[in-house]
Symmetry: C2
């Protein structure tokens, strides 16, 4: 999948939102300029995940924004999502590529050069690289080694910075390491005004 | 998929077994006569589930016994399993059928006539019907209403009895309700001699 705009990549978390609030945040973020959406549900029953994914896809389709499913290839196939994002504990990228076909988007979370180069070899379209500081949503996320980061950025593959990225550090991270975009959870989902929060993040990325 | 032998259907649970013990129980059960195996992992990371499923498939392939994956179509596709078993909180059967193709086996857990007839309409190959008494592995399983059970058994579809089935009640359940087999977890997995436990269950079914 070519020409994907990774500028502001919203990764969702249901936190304590009602479904209506959750869906509203996603729509507001897209209106504010989010360019790609990922649903991440680690504790949902398959049926619940599927139903939620369908509702989110109605929104992303309306605005023609790609919807990526975290981990669950089955959900991605069921709703014909734009792609799948896998971590190192999820389905291996090469198997996802074989099952999902050449035209869908695959992202891989990479924390060092070895993981990054393997992802590219296995058919990933982009990397999620991080974390840049400890975050509320992934307490076990390790802050990335900057030497590894420099090496990873030599690989010819799209990439987004994820983990502790916000409007205060987005511009510096993007420009210093030449990322194609930033991925955020809390910086949008937890903001009282997700539309404005997205607009501000997009401004930092585009500066 | 035709000619599947549902006589003794082992559904796995890792309990506190080591992986070696777990795999050994499955192999012993197959040697004892288990005719079909289902892996059920509700709390595993995708990568761990995949790796375990591959190891189980090496065993089931060796003995030419079908391997069914509970809930996770993605895992089933990744290891080319014989099929998928879905509960009412899992992926809907019609979607599984569309994604997995006509040649794979789909089982559906059904607790009343409405669920059973829908499963058949949606392309299920067999039903898991139960529970027959409260069980250790599914504490929230409701014991089946016998009027519903009588109605369900009028539907022309294969079926296995699951939930509190053991060698003491297997023969009665099979013969009274004309099941094609029994599905068990603890009655094999928790027995000190899973091979002998399977042999005894098979004898009850074949009587």
């Amino acid at each position: 999948m070519d020409n994907v705009d990774y500028s502001v990549y919203l990764v969702t978390d249901q936190f304590d939102f009602t479904e209506e609030e959750f869906l509203n945040i996603i729509e507001e973020s897209i209106i504010g300029g989010a360019t790609i959406i990922q649903i991440r549900e680690k504790d949902s029953e398959t049926r619940d995940f599927l139903n939620l994914a369908r509702k989110v896809k109605n929104i992303t389709d309306k605005y023609d924004v790609p919807l990526i499913i975290n981990d669950r290839l089955d959900i991605a196939l069921a709703i014909d999502a734009a792609g799948v994002h896998v971590g190192q504990d999820d389905m291996p990228c090469d198997i996802v590529r074989k099952l999902i076909g050449p035209d869908k988007l695959i992202g891989v979370s990479a924390h060092d050069y070895a993981e990054a180069i393997k992802a590219k070899e296995d058919g990933a379209d982009y990397l999620g690289i991080g974390a840049f500081q400890p975050t509320a949503t992934k307490k076990n996320a390790n802050v990335i080694d900057l030497n590894e980061l420099e090496k990873m950025k030599q690989i010819d593959i799209k990439s987004v910075a994820i983990g502790g990225v916000n409007k205060d550090n987005a511009k510096e991270i993007i420009s210093k390491y030449n990322f194609d975009g930033i991925a955020v959870v809390s910086a949008i989902m937890k903001d009282d005004n997700p539309r404005k929060a997205t607009e501000e993040l997009l401004q930092e990325v585009q500066l």
